[in-house]
Amino acid sequence: MIATLKDMQEQLNSAPHLVRLGRLFSETVLLGIGEDEYYLTFDKGQLVEVTPGPSRKTPYRFSFHTDADALERFWQPIPVPGFHDIFGLVKIGRGRITGDILSLVKNLRYFKAFMALPRGQRRAGA
């Protein structure tokens, strides 16, 4: 998973429109995938650090928890209903959001676009 996240980091940081969308977003997000945790540190729209957890000492603005199977389905080029959006995962009980949800909502387009990056890559057949 760390390789995928690093790849997402590279895609995000080389997408000027996404960096511009996230220009006011400088926060740490906890991404939970099953038992694994990753701290994603964003700075002015760039993802500057991906740090595997767990860590009780790392503060984060909000978290998104899901599982590897759900994420795999989420990243399919054409996901099935419910797996097509992070809020869909929450609605079908395969995702959970904690922390400052308003911070997420203010940056929702940006964060959704970041989370869906592997889907775009698979659509392109990469």
């Binding site: 609605k91 308003l102 909502v105």
Partner: protein
């Protein structure tokens, strides 16, 4: 170069004793179909059907922007008003538009909150319509989000609203129409989406009325997209089950804004719905 057949004009009506300037569009001739847009959007959601010659040869499609939406102005004094749509105001507005346009027993087609109010009309004013097409409509949907997120001074409600409702758009939707659909939400005036959601997520008065709907007199056909997280096929099925004689079609590859997000995918379902409607009574 081409000029579309849609024409737009303005209509002055009175709602709640106060003037409203309503923008409406129409195309085609024949059996009238009054089309209601979703929360946070406007008539542009219907433009594909209104530009569809196969649709407009035998149907006069009419859509209007609700007050506060699109090119319809908010009421005078809006600057000190809090916009909160109610069932009563919604009904009064639709009836006033129908009277203003001289529409006799149109088919009423509404999506999302437009579908909700279509079902309210089916229960309360069936004699005014030939039939009802309720798209992405259900008896009641409590919010799974905080509607106050979408009207605050420190963030752009339209951009947040668009990001939220993108959850309801199917991955089968062409990218250009996905973003044209979201653009309407991005353009929505401050507090308008929130005010619509207040009606959509807090007024549960339809539930008790569903059993009163007489589909033998005025048919009710429902259509729902499998990718709709807000009104799921299960929500629509529950609602259809409570209306004796109502029919339901599930669109496997569409979401909450079918006529707008994926016009080609939606078209056969709308054609089928219209075929289920009777001709207007004399």
């Amino acid at each position: 170069m081409s000029i579309e057949p849609i024409t737009g004009r303005y209509l002055s009506i009175t709602v709640g004793g106060a003037a409203r300037r309503i923008y409406f569009e129409e195309a085609g001739q024949g059996r009238p179909v009054l089309c209601l847009h979703t929360a946070g959007a406007d008539t542009r959601q219907w433009r594909h059907l209104m530009n569809d010659e196969g649709m407009t040869t035998n149907h006069r499609l009419i859509a209007f922007d609700m007050p506060w939406h699109g090119k319809s102005l908010p009421p005078e004094g809006f600057e000190t008003d809090e916009y909160l749509l109610t069932t009563d105001a919604y009904i009064e507005t639709v009836l006033a538009v129908m009277d203003g346009l001289g529409l006799k027993q149109p088919i009423l087609a509404g999506c999302s909150m437009g579908g909700r109010i279509a079902l309210q009309f089916a229960a309360l004013y069936p004699e005014r319509f030939a039939g009802f097409i309720a798209i992405e409509a259900s008896d009641f949907q409590p919010a799974w989000y905080d509607i106050d997120w979408f009207h605050r001074p420190d963030a752009h409600g339209g951009e947040m609203g668009a990001a939220l409702v993108s959850a309801n758009i199917s991955p089968y939707a062409p990218e250009v129409e996905r973003w044209n659909t979201l653009w309407m939400f991005m353009q929505s005036g401050p507090g308008v989406f929130r005010g619509d959601l207040s009606f959509y997520t807090q007024d549960d008065s339809l539930i008790a009325r569903l059993g009163d709907i007489d589909t033998a007199r005025t048919p009710v056909h429902m259509i729902v997209g499998a990718y709709d997280l807000t009104c799921t096929p299960e929500d629509a099925q529950r609602t259809a089950d409570a209306i004796p004689g109502a029919t339901l079609a599930v669109m496997d590859e569409l979401g909450h804004f079918p006529m707008s997000e994926h016009p080609d995918g939606f078209r056969p379902f709308f054609v089928d719905a219209l075929a289920r409607m009777p001709k207007a009574r004399g």
